[in-house]
Point group: D2
Chain length 143, copies 4
């Protein structure tokens, strides 16, 4: 699939005494790229929550390659790497202004009922999400 | 009233590139002291939330006097400065290991219904909280 | 002076279990507006840090009036309220998309040497900053 | 090696609107366990930083299995899984009060010069760290 990219100017608050962006904050950048991509394909994560469902992260795997600091902008690309109706795996690449890779990452997600955190299958509960993700997944497979 | 104190070892994640605890994080330390005090007097904030109420901050005023950094411990004291059934004002002092003041602060709180954020009066909805806070307030007035 | 405004789309990570932006995160929004304003008037905070100086917050005072949540955008205005060569007070207003006030605030800052956190006077060490802030201050006084 | 465990009461600020601990905050819990372990074996990470070196994370991999929320305590165990003089891999298990696994994780670290972020070899620069980690690594291999 086509990658979706956002630009995130580093906030001072995101640095630590090492002088660079604190590593946990990359997960926030990834989430911003992911929710921006979801919006860009015409879906609305907030509506999913309003309907009583949430989509927690079940795995996050980040390779840190080059640090970012205050004054830098993080360019965060995201795409759907895998989707099977139950789990979705997003892949990410974070680059700096020179195009050098600061981090690459993957996060895995399910959708659960908010009241009991039980996973649901998207084809049944969110057919529109399913058909769009099905298509994104095939683009990845053939791209 | 008697002051309630907690010890908070500074986390690396709480520092910024200035090499000290990022100023917004003091509000988290204050909250930890406040909820610890509430627990220590036999009340349970979580129960209040489970009953459909939350207690947002309506004002926070912090004087920063001396920085803290990784390796330091913040000693955070809290007491009830004012209570009138609707609003509660907590006062705080944050000191370092040598007893020197790192920050002093006040936060003001109301209790609201979670569904509409409308303030409620504690004597009516939470009589137990009211009688305890009434007493703490008088101790302050006469202390 | 003319107010400087930035738009900050609320991040999911900035919410808490109350369902709204966690109160400490407003201080981060204020800082983003402040550093953006500084940049817009041709100054560079990062250069100040590279020269061995930092500008810590000595007081932060926030009135919270209306909550913001995920899906909202915070419109953060900032202007110089007071400047005397040693201390600068910035004032802020945070509004939502309907123009209703979510928060108003003030933060006070000094500039200190990074190595010992001793305050310095801007006219002496940063004359360019001084002349610009002097002017901003007069605009406020006469506006 | 023997596992090192710390207890972390969940902070309100660490939750998000999903009502549970925000996933990025687990990385902070892991760091707290890791630095606590380092201290418990007689080493001092702050000294390493004071000597001009820092130890950034090069990979973080977290499996989220069960959510934690305000009112819960996270029990975080950590141990050295691998060490070769250049890279150290720590493994973690986060459990709740009932002993059920909330998350398991691994983080990989190198030590670099703060001024240029170039990796160094511990046997040469920090022989004391090296001999202790060498031993921890062997305990793991034979445990």
């Amino acid at each position: 699939m086509k990658k979706h990219m956002i630009e995130v100017p580093v906030r001072y608050a995101e640095t630590d005494m090492m002088g660079v962006v604190y590593h946990a904050n990359y997960l926030i950048y990834l989430e911003m790229a992911r929710t921006s991509m979801i919006k860009s394909i015409g879906l609305d994560y907030k509506e999913m929550e309003d309907a009583g469902y949430v989509s927690p992260v079940t795995n996050a795997n980040v390779d840190y390659k080059r640090s970012l600091t205050y004054g830098d902008t993080a360019f965060v690309s995201v795409w759907v790497k895998y989707y099977d109706g139950l789990r979705t795996i997003y892949a990410y690449e974070v680059t700096n202004a020179e195009g050098k890779v600061a981090a690459s990452a993957e996060t895995t997600h399910v959708v659960v009922k908010k009241e009991n955190f039980r996973p649901i299958r998207l084809p049944k509960v969110f057919p529109e999400w399913h058909s769009i993700y099905e298509r994104l997944n095939q683009e990845t497979a053939h791209g």
